[in-house]
């Protein structure tokens, strides 16, 4: 499944029989826009079920890394080695629901016959009874919960989340943190969460990385002492 050059990931059949093989392995990943290397010879491993948060300034390459893992970077040049599970789900910053499909149809998009699973997933995210609503009738937080249900109904081995709560208000964001934690405990996917919020990263992740100039500039376990100051320093924010 390792794939060189081009950046396009051809997703081979899952090797789920070999459970220990289910890990995310990135070696020498480079992605360039014109002259600029957005990802510069990056190495990263994520264990099954591990929750990794990725911090960084805008332009540090965190979205590029996530899009490379999602196979969405076919128009970017680069090379490197990418091992990702077959079942990858993506949660975008916008909920990205099809406005002309009812909520339930959005959840089971591309999964014909999975309506019952879809209903259960909606119940899990606390939206039981809203199956037949139009996405436009939901609040921003509710729409993002539908997006979570759409991701989880596919039972992903890797969940990629690109600032999923960035557009939500602070209170809703806290609720969504609790929900995401609960869902990850229940489904146990490996998670790569891209965020610019240090506290969100510490609250949710097992391991926090700081990406700078296409390389990993800092790496901390979230239970380490003084992690917040360390991360902020790595991001160039000095605590007063």
């Amino acid at each position: 499944m390792a794939q060189d050059a081009g950046g396009l990931i051809t997703q081979a059949p899952a090797v789920s029989s070999q459970a220990p093989q289910l890990r995310i392995r990135i070696r020498n990943l480079t992605r360039t826009y014109g002259e600029r290397a957005v990802l510069d010879d990056l190495d990263l491993d994520i264990r099954p079920g591990e929750f990794v948060a990725l911090l960084g300034h805008s332009g540090s390459g965190k979205s590029t890394l996530l899009r490379a893992l999602a196979g969405l970077d076919y128009d970017v040049s680069g090379h490197g080695e990418l091992d990702v599970p077959a079942q990858v789900s993506v949660v975008f910053q916008d909920a990205r629901l099809l406005p002309w499909q009812k909520v339930l149809d959005n959840v089971v998009l591309g999964l014909p016959g999975a309506e019952d699973r879809g209903r259960r997933a909606l119940e899990e995210v606390g939206l039981k009874g809203r199956e037949n609503a139009w996405p436009n009738e939901l609040s921003g937080g509710e729409q993002q919960r539908v997006a979570l249900a759409r991701s989880l109904v596919r039972e992903p081995e890797l969940l990629l989340a690109d600032e999923p709560f960035g557009a939500l208000d602070a209170l809703t964001r806290l609720k969504m943190h609790a929900l995401l934690k609960k869902l990850c405990l229940a489904h146990n996917p490996a998670v790569l969460l891209v965020t610019h919020d240090v506290d969100e990263a510490i609250a949710l992740a097992d391991r926090v990385l700081v990406l700078d100039n296409g390389r990993i500039a800092a790496e901390r376990r979230s239970d380490e002492q003084g992690i917040r100051d360390d991360l902020l320093r790595a991001l160039g924010v000095t605590a007063a």
Binding site: A70, G71, L72, V88, F92, R96, L98, Q101, G110, R154
Partner: protein, 288 residues
């Protein structure tokens, strides 16, 4: 201290009737002035109704010469006559059949061409050019050729309608399809939709607003081309009935035909708009 006393005095003078008048409270108008307002029931009938009223008044006052324009009641009487003799139904049926066939061929062909040309570069290269070319040739100019190829029978009449209908369907469906947000395409890729699923759940619903707009043009155009087609050597149809009436100088029958064309166009447009409202109920727009 002094400021306090002063403001107290000011307050007292404001309360006393002799004091300066208080500014009148501003009543804030409710927002919503940028929207067109609440929908008017049967609003689409008001405009045509006014024209009808002018015609009635003009005829009754003797301002309109009946040799040029028969009075409305004369037209009504003629309509009753035509219905009683069965001529109207027979001709209407022939016309409706032609339009239905023309739409039946033209709409699916237009949609299919739009989807192929919208989703593949090869399709676009093959299809878009000829369509734009056809669009810039007046359809009436195609008539001589079509008559040579297809004769003057039903085939030619249905073809000219289908060709006319195809263009707005193609243009607007293609446009609707091309303006689908690329974020939805990215989403379709991440959930690994197949090409068929992608067309069914993203492309067609996304292009539906465009298609329905094209449909509104298409139904109007279909009646337009019907007239042209029927004036050429028909033996039935509203156009034939009118052409015959012209020979005998029967303006009332011509008017019956005109009113019929108008009503048919109006109601088919209203029908499409009804479908539009039902099919696009997920949208929140300026009109809601």
């Amino acid at each position: 201290m002094t400021t306090l006393q002063e403001s107290a005095a000011a307050a007292a003078s404001a309360l006393s009737p002799a004091g300066p008048p208080l500014p009148a409270p501003v009543r804030r108008a409710r927002r919503g002035t940028l929207r067109p307002g609440a929908p008017i029931k049967f609003g689409f009938l008001i405009g045509p109704g006014l024209i009808l009223a002018a015609w009635v008044i003009g005829s009754a006052a003797g301002l309109i010469d009946p040799r040029f324009l028969s009075a409305p009641w004369q037209v009504v009487a003629t309509t009753v006559e035509l219905i009683e003799s069965g001529r109207l139904q027979q001709n209407l049926l022939a016309s409706v059949q032609r339009v239905a066939l023309g739409l039946g061929f033209g709409v699916p062909i237009g949609v299919a061409l739009a989807v192929v040309s919208g989703l593949s570069r090869v399709g676009e290269a093959l299809i878009d050019g000829p369509i734009q070319l056809k669009r810039s040739i007046p359809s009436l100019a195609l008539l001589p050729l079509l008559i040579l190829w297809l004769g003057i029978g039903e085939g030619m009449k249905v073809t000219i309608i289908a060709l006319g209908v195809m263009i707005p369907i193609y243009i607007h469906t293609h446009n609707g399809l091309r303006s689908i947000d690329s974020r939805y395409i990215e989403l379709a890729e991440t959930v690994s939709l197949s090409k068929v699923q992608f067309i069914r759940t993203v492309v067609l619903p996304g292009a539906l607003p465009g298609f329905l707009l094209g449909m509104r043009f298409a139904v109007t155009i279909s009646w337009l081309f019907l007239v042209v087609a029927e004036l050429i050597n028909s033996t039935a149809g509203i156009g034939y009935m009118m052409d015959l009436a012209r020979t005998y100088g029967q303006t009332d029958i011509i008017l019956v035909g005109l009113v019929l064309y108008g009503l048919l166009g109006l109601f088919s447009d209203a029908a499409v708009r009804l479908v539009e409202r039902k099919a696009l109920s997920w949208r929140k727009t300026l009109a809601d």
